[in-house]
């Protein structure tokens, strides 16, 4: 009787549906507080920013908000400072992601053995990743200060060189940003790639070695292709992170309303410009539009990178 009843219950789709609901409802119930917060603090502001990007919202409650259509997008697309910020970030992303990945691979391959010295060296390289980015940037600002009392200039002077005005010369801004980013990020990249290296079956390398392949050939034909998923992850997340450069640019270029972006806007990034427009120029509508343009750029670039990753996987 019971078996028949169960059988008929399972056969009835309505009952099965109800049973699913009763199975998952407690789980959704437990997620509800998080979902509420997620909706209020993430989803709603996201959609609100689309709406604001189509208005002349100044951020001041008393001010009437007017719908301006795509004017903000049009303004930005013809804004020279926005173009400069995009050019700056494009160079920064390219050099940071490329060099960071290469340095990460080298460090991971060189330090992958489990010796004591390797463990200590890995820890040293990883340390910047667990240190406050703001604090280290402030220290780097002192390292690159332009007078003869900056650490880098002391070093240059000891080698017989002249003082270099690092932060007073536009051409040094991006190299400094890239250098600091690689210093702070290569340890983390190394850890990801180390994890990728450990997931490669060692028998493949052993078999290739027995077949006479030297270490360089084994690296190119076995290790690197099998690291592709890890590298794809490192490159895509690295690109997304690099596009969001703000704190370093803010601190290094001084952060003041009039000095923001450094000389000739050499250190101006899209997020720094967003901050400038939204919080110093009272133009939240324009800043929201900038955020969405940046979002689209990042999404398109990430999709291209993923597609390239898949393409190379298919061709190998």
């Amino acid at each position: 009787m019971t078996a028949i009843a169960r059988g008929s219950q399972a056969a009835n789709p309505k009952v099965r549906h109800q049973s699913k609901i009763s199975k998952y409802l407690p789980l959704y119930g437990m997620m509800l507080p998080f979902l509420l917060l997620f909706f209020v603090f993430t989803v709603w502001p996201l959609f609100r920013s689309i709406q604001l990007s189509l208005t002349d919202y100044t951020g001041i409650a008393a001010r009437e908000i007017n719908f301006v259509g795509v004017d903000n997008y049009r303004t930005l697309l013809s804004d020279e400072r926005f173009h400069t910020s995009l050019w700056n970030i494009a160079r920064y992303v390219f050099f940071t992601v490329t060099i960071n990945t290469i340095v990460g691979i080298i460090l991971a391959v060189v330090l992958q053995a489990q010796g004591k010295i390797n463990q200590i060296t890995r820890t040293l390289f990883f340390m910047p990743a667990v240190t406050s980015g703001l604090a280290t940037t402030v220290v780097w600002k002192y390292v690159f200060r332009s007078d003869k009392y900056g650490l880098m200039n002391i070093l240059i002077a000891s080698l017989g060189g002249d003082v270099i005005r690092f932060l007073g010369t536009p051409k040094y801004y991006m190299p400094i940003f890239v250098f600091i980013s690689i210093w702070g990020g290569c340890g983390m990249t190394m850890v990801f790639i180390l994890a990728g290296l450990r997931s490669i079956n060692p028998e493949l390398n052993e078999a290739a070695a027995i077949d006479g392949a030297d270490s360089w050939r084994r690296f190119w034909t076995i290790t690197l292709p099998l690291l592709r998923p890890t590298l794809l992850y490192v490159v895509v997340t690295g690109t997304i992170n690099a596009f969001q450069l703000f704190d370093m640019a803010y601190i290094i270029s001084g952060g003041g309303q009039d000095s923001m972006g450094g000389p000739l806007d050499a250190g101006l990034t899209p997020l720094l410009y967003l901050y400038y427009l939204g919080f110093t120029r009272f133009n939240i509508g324009l800043a929201s539009a900038l955020a969405w343009i940046l979002f689209l750029v990042i999404i398109v670039l990430s999709l291209i990178l993923l597609r390239i990753g898949r393409f190379t996987e298919d061709t190998l």
């Binding site: 407690p26 507080p33 003041g256 009039d258």
Partner: protein, 451 residues
């Protein structure tokens, strides 16, 4: 069993949400409007002593966000304490907000429609906020007070904060100016005299002599370096202006403006002035750069923070240009009332701002600043007598107030000045010549004026 579980779950959720609600309800007023609720408790004893007064005057509490450092906050609080001693129904709390955060915090308050009743801040903030309905027009609501304040404000300062259309969103709280600083010991060693230059020619002569004596980059420029604020003083010293008097025309592409730009560019090309924003003072202190341009606010503490050169330096006015005027950039703090402030608080706030322009208000602030080794620069030379400093310093303050000019209050200047800075920097770094730079500066202001 399941029903009980769901009931329990719903109950927990409802209770947790109610808990959140309670937290919001109890915490929000504490942070947003802490002083509105407080006075009732503090005013009660007064109420028993002066029942008539409390019946007439409602208790009002003001929260003032003072942009700057502890000294700025202390100065406002000193004036507030003097004011509340005469107005028992009023409590005023001055909270210091550092310059680095102030603009963003004020905007957040304006966006939320909740926060301080009164703010102090940069010269342009009144116009920025006021034109976006974030601050009240004092002239529309309190014309008598504004009229009196105007009479006690230097005309050149008034011009900088009041647009041609006449709205007064804020008034000057105190002034800051760009000044020259010289290492007198080095000047004496190199030139045989501690006299400081008073004209452009004397200034460049001094720089030449210093360079000849081995000071490769004799000038260290901090406030206004490579930007429009630095150019500002030279423009007026050369006899130029940004706009025509009625703000209808941009007047930057003129021989005077060109002369000012050439003079500024020479400081970088010939005298190797560092191009960093706010370079460290250490080059001045160590004597590598015997001349420095910086704000007047460094004067009080300089001997204390840099004891190694105590007595070996002197402040001076900017050198006079071809126009014969030694104009300097005028900055400082404005003070105004946020638009969301309740009417009763607005009335008291306006009265308090008016009080800052009285002898008592100036004395309270000036004495506090003096106790902190500083000099209070009021917005009016008639107030100089109330500042506890010697006659020589009083004369300097009067001189500065007479010759300082703030940024023009013509429409679009705030939006256009990054264009001026960019053109100046392009010329400094050799990307364009001075003539093209001037054309770009003119175009930048014309574009924003027309908008």
């Amino acid at each position: 069993m399941e029903k009980r579980f769901y009931l329990l779950l719903v109950l927990v959720l409802v209770l947790s949400l109610a808990g959140c609600q309670q937290v919001v309800a109890t915490e929000a007023p504490a942070t947003e409007e802490p002083v509105i609720e407080e006075p009732e408790a503090t005013e009660e004893p007064e109420a028993t002593e002066e029942p008539e007064a409390t019946e007439e005057a409602e208790s009002v509490s003001l929260l003032i966000w003072v942009t700057g450092g502890e000294t700025d906050g202390g100065m406002v609080q000193a004036a507030a304490d003097a004011y509340t001693a005469e107005h028992h129904n009023v409590t005023i709390s001055a909270e210091v907000v550092p310059w680095s955060d102030a603009h963003t915090k004020v905007l957040a308050a304006a966006a939320a429609g909740s926060g301080p009743d009164v703010i102090t801040g940069g010269m342009s903030w009144g116009l920025e906020l006021g034109q976006n309905d974030g601050m009240i027009d004092l002239n529309a609501q309190y014309p008598d007070i504004v009229k009196d304040i105007q009479e006690h404000t230097m005309p050149n300062i008034w011009e900088a904060i009041v647009p041609a259309t006449g709205e007064v969103y804020a008034v000057q709280h105190y002034a800051t100016v760009n000044m020259m600083y010289y290492r007198t010991d080095i000047l004496e060693e190199v030139t045989g005299s501690t006299d400081t230059p008073t004209t452009w020619e004397e200034f460049t002569d001094l720089l030449d002599q210093l360079q000849a004596a081995g000071y490769d980059a004799p000038l260290l420029w901090r406030w206004g370096n490579t930007d429009w604020m630095g150019y500002h003083g030279f423009l007026y010293q050369a006899g130029g202006t940004y706009y025509s008097p009625d703000c209808s025309e941009v007047t930057l592409n003129t021989p005077e403006a060109a002369q000012a730009l050439d003079f500024m560019l020479e400081l970088y090309s010939k005298y190797n002035t560092p191009t960093d924003a706010w370079p460290d003072q250490v080059a001045f202190v160590n004597g590598d750069a015997p001349v420095m341009i910086d704000g007047n606010w460094i004067i009080p503490d300089f001997d204390l923070t840099r004891p190694e050169i105590a007595g070996l330096w002197t402040p001076a006015n900017m050198p006079a240009g071809p126009s014969g005027k030694s104009v300097t950039f005028l900055g400082g703090n404005i003070i105004g009332i946020m638009s969301y402030t309740p009417q009763a608080s607005q009335d008291v706030a306006a009265d308090f701002i008016h009080y800052l322009y009285s002898q008592e208000g100036v004395e309270a602030q000036a004495n506090y600043i003096a106790s902190q080794n500083g000099i209070f620069i009021p917005p009016y030379d008639g107030f100089v007598d109330y500042i506890p400093v010697n006659d020589e310093l009083k004369a300097s303050v009067v001189d500065i107030l007479a010759t300082a000019y703030g940024p023009p209050s013509c429409p679009g200047f705030e939006a256009g000045n990054p264009g001026i800075t960019k053109a100046i920097q392009e010329a400094i770094f050799g990307e364009i010549d001075a003539e093209t730079a001037l054309e770009k500066m003119q175009a930048a202001l014309e574009e924003t004026l027309n908008q």
